[in-house]
């Protein structure tokens, strides 16, 4: 069993290094360590299931070992920038003021097609419109467009509007969401009053949402046919 334990630790680091070597392009949306866990766990879990001669514990031990390692490493990453850099890498600026950094592209092995595809997915069709584009540690590209091409906002037009939270789901299928109710600063008494006004029992409510101003929307359950 100790062999499996040590093998799991060694494999964890080997695959982390391999994924880091492969670079951001291969990762997609997961952090390198998360990807490693996902790949290994899906593989390890199938072994004792497929081969009944292998005891179940031989699958459980490496899975728990890997998950524990991941938690330890993510905790370590919180304290150490070096550890964070080792496991996740660092974001890289790929476009600055409309100019593509070709060295970074080469380093990341990003083709111009990859870059354009990512920009297009962010509704950017002209590199000139990009003020800053960053390749995140997950491999995704974050784009900040130039001020001149950004859509006009209310603050740009000098319109002042109060900032308020979106409506919260306070009743879901007849159940009161206490946390949401507290979040909008209301209580059960207020809710009972509203339901009485609407002539509706709690059990009859399918969805009820409400914002901080007390504006609510109530959808009743459909009658069973």
């Amino acid at each position: 069993m100790l062999i499996v334990f040590f093998r799991a630790i060694i494999l964890y680091f080997i695959i982390i290094i391999s994924i880091r070597l492969m670079g951001k392009r291969q990762i997609g949306e997961l952090q390198p360590s998360e990807l490693v866990i996902t790949i290994l766990m899906s593989n390890i879990a199938t072994l004792p299931i497929e081969d009944i001669t292998i005891p179940m514990i031989m699958g459980v031990v490496p899975i728990f070992t890997l998950v524990c390692l991941d938690v330890f490493m993510s905790q370590l990453s919180l304290y150490s920038r070096r550890v964070r850099k080792f496991f996740s890498g660092t974001p890289k600026i790929i476009i600055s003021d409309g100019v593509v950094d070709q060295q970074v592209m080469k380093k990341l092995r990003f083709t111009i097609d990859d870059l354009m595809e990512s920009l297009r997915s962010m509704q950017v069709f002209d590199i000139e419109d990009v003020q800053l584009a960053v390749v995140e540690t997950t491999g995704k590209i974050s784009v900040y467009q130039k001020q001149t091409t950004q859509p006009c906002t209310k603050s740009d037009m000098g319109i002042t509007v109060p900032c308020k939270n979106p409506p919260q789901l306070i009743i879901s299928d007849g159940d009161i969401e206490e946390v949401a109710l507290n979040f909008i600063g209301r209580d059960r008494k207020w809710l009972s009053q509203i339901l009485a006004e609407e002539n509706c029992h709690l059990e009859q409510v399918f969805i009820m949402t409400c914002d901080g101003d007390g504006n609510y929307k109530l959808i009743r359950k459909e009658d069973k046919k």
Partner: protein, 125 residues
């Protein structure tokens, strides 16, 4: 932080179970070796009746040991040992020359089960 403590607990538990399983296998193996050595010496003396009783005792012991050990060892290895243990009684009945070698092979299989659990550098890699 709570998650870290849980993981530390799981880590300690895994190491604990691993070390404990090694201890259990070692202890049970010692008992198995003792029983087999006793059977071999009784067989060499020629006490067939007592030897047969001891073989029966060994079969019973192996049944219990199999259950304990099956959590950590692959069942194919254990099945080989079970096969050898099952052969002992007929071999003794026939007074076969293979009786002692079969006893020795059980000892060797049991030793392999134990040694395969030890985290030697070569076995880890």
């Amino acid at each position: 932080m709570k998650r870290v403590y849980i993981c530390i607990g799981i880590f300690v538990l895994i190491i604990g179970i691993s070390v404990y399983s090694l201890y259990v296998i070692k202890k049970s193996n010692d008992e198995l070796y003792y029983r087999i050595d006793e059977i071999i010496s009784l067989h060499q003396i020629g006490d067939r009746e007592v030897t047969a009783q001891k073989v029966e005792g060994l079969e019973e012991f192996w049944k219990g040991y199999y259950v304990k050990i099956s959590f950590v060892a692959t069942s194919s290895t254990l099945d080989d040992i079970s096969y050898s243990v099952a052969k002992l009684a007929p071999l003794l009945k026939e007074d076969s020359d293979e009786f002692v070698s079969e006893c020795q092979s059980i000892k060797y299989w049991a030793y392999l089960v134990y040694s395969n659990q030890l985290p030697y550098f070569y076995s880890v890699l």
